[in-house]
């Protein structure tokens, strides 16, 4: 079962995992779903909070079992099978490793630094070797997006205080050189 039918395995694994998870959740339903609260001695919600989860989990477990039985009786050929070899899986692991790193560093490192690291790594993984191209993408991209998001769309992205103040200084320099026109949101969209 190692190299020949990896995707039938991944299908069966998923089904098994879902079935086990739903059966376990059904067994431990009482500790996973809190009891409804009470007001004037009556329940605060008309249906017990565990009603819908119970129905869904029973159906889920049952259908997983049924599908597993059908899958085992037929062996079909996977379309993706030929494409995902060991190198491919390795690339997937590296890629999602980079993305996890990106997710964990965005707030502590700020948007610019974390994005620059992540995009540069991904570009390198994809085989880009032009320093200029990588530099432009991983530096200009986040700077422009950050400024567009915080200044034009008025939403916040995480950023280090020093970098944020640097942006503010740069923009005020720019603004003091050309102060005449108040930026209208329409024009700036």
């Amino acid at each position: 079962m190692t190299r020949r039918f990896p995707f039938i395995t991944s299908e069966i694994l998923t089904l098994n995992a879902l079935m086990v998870a739903s059966v376990l959740s059904l067994i431990f339903m009482n500790s996973l779903v809190a009891a409804p609260k009470v007001l004037f001695g009556r329940s605060l919600s008309a249906i017990p909070p565990s009603l819908f989860p119970s129905i869904v989990l029973v159906l889920l477990a049952g259908m997983c079992a049924a599908t597993l039985i059908i899958v085992r009786t037929r062996i079909t050929h996977s379309i993706l099978e030929d494409r995902m070899g060991r190198t491919e899986w390795l690339r997937a692991v590296i890629l999602f490793g980079i993305m996890t790193l990106y997710a964990m560093t965005m707030v502590p490192f700020g948007f610019l630094i974390s994005t620059a690291i992540a995009t540069a790594l991904i570009a390198l993984q994809m085989g880009a070797r032009s320093v200029l191209q990588i530099g432009l993408v991983s530096f200009l991209g986040p700077v422009l997006l950050y400024l567009a998001a915080t200044r034009l769309l008025a939403v916040s992205l995480p950023e280090l205080n020093t970098i944020e103040l640097f942006y503010a200084d740069m923009l005020s320099l720019f603004a003091s050189e050309a102060p005449a026109v108040p930026a209208t949101p329409d024009a700036s969209q």
């Binding site: 919600s45 034009l152 503010a168 923009l171 603004a175 003091s176 209208t184 949101p185 329409d186």
Partner: protein, 323 residues
């Protein structure tokens, strides 16, 4: 005509533009030197959102910095509140919330923060009194009729509210307690859907703020039976106190809070800005159109009110849940 209009349009653009250009202004030595974020722990398009849009479009004039709205709904308001509780107490992260999330929730849930200790008031912006409403062709002509019917047939009267421990639920529960009656409380996803349930006949009674009920009252579709507060809002409609529901029942206070530990001078700057905002002509006109009042109250006064609220809600919750 067109010229006049373009002029108006430009004036308006300049106001909003101010919010944006404020961030382009030269850096100052003192607070605020960068845009201020105002977190709303509620969803987009609600009354807090609308109020905040008006506030943030005008307050940059007095702070010389933009104020950015950040909507962080979730877990009944706890998500956004916690975020501000954890934010740096430098005056750059504020919370725009209301008294039920702020002071009532701590008594019904386990919160990851302590409202009384983690927040200080910047300013109370305004408040809204709630009103009890029925359909115009309802058999309940007066509040007494409604109470009598509710006592006669416990749970037979359907009351539409906007969610457990929300702005409609709490006054309803207080009434049921005070008048010893029983309603069948049916939740809806907000005050709007609750009103729609009343209009379609699914619910017998609901509550609402005068700003949202007014159009229906004038159209003769809805009748108001009682309103919150000590003074009558409508000449022929009794107050809660007159019908036997005493205490601070049925007010929603919209309030701006800051994390505890925010420096005194920062709070003073903000407080001053909100106070002058309350007198701004454009601000009063726009809030008037939204049907909201303006009654700015400062740090000390509202902090004292918060303590009273906390005590009152604690007693209320203990009373209602019998714990």
């Amino acid at each position: 005509m067109i010229k006049n209009l373009t002029k108006k349009a430009f004036a308006s653009l300049a106001v909003t533009g101010a919010a944006l250009t404020a961030s382009f202004a030269p850096a100052q030595a003192e607070y605020p030197e960068k845009p201020i974020t105002m977190v709303i722990p509620l969803g987009a398009g609600g009354s807090h959102d609308l109020n905040a849009r008006v506030i943030t479009s005008i307050i940059p004039t007095y702070l010389n910095q933009a104020m950015i709205v950040r909507l962080t709904p979730g877990a009944g308001g706890q998500k956004g509140t916690q975020e501000v509780a954890n934010a740096a107490a430098d005056g750059y992260t504020l919370l725009f919330t209301h008294n039920y999330i702020d002071m009532l929730q701590q008594h019904v849930e386990n919160l990851p923060y302590t409202p009384a200790e983690d927040f200080v008031t910047v300013a109370r912006i305004n408040y809204a009194p709630i009103a009890v409403a029925v359909q115009a062709d309802s058999p309940y002509q007066t509040f007494e009729d409604l109470v009598a019917a509710s006592k006669e047939n416990p749970g037979g009267v359907q009351m539409a509210h906007s969610g457990n421990w929300g702005a409609l639920f709490v006054p309803a529960a207080q009434m049921m307690k005070a008048l010893d009656m029983q309603w069948n409380l049916v939740p809806y996803q907000g005050g709007g859907p609750a009103l729609q349930a009343l209009l379609s006949g699914d619910a017998d009674v609901t509550m609402g703020f005068p700003s949202s009920l007014a159009a229906h009252v004038e159209a003769g579709k809805v009748r108001i039976l009682a309103t919150a507060g000590a003074e009558r809002l409508y000449d022929d409609v009794p107050t809660f106190a007159e019908v036997g529901v005493e205490g601070d029942v049925g007010f929603m206070h919209r309030v701006v809070l800051a994390p505890a530990g925010t420096p005194e001078d920062v709070l003073a700057t903000l407080g001053e800005a909100f106070k002058t905002l309350g007198e701004d002509k454009t601000f009063t006109r726009m809030m008037g159109r939204l049907g909201e009042n303006i009654d700015i109250i400062g740090t000390e006064e509202y902090d004292a009110m918060r303590m009273e609220q906390s005590e009152a809600y604690k007693a209320l919750v203990a009373d209602l849940t019998g714990q």
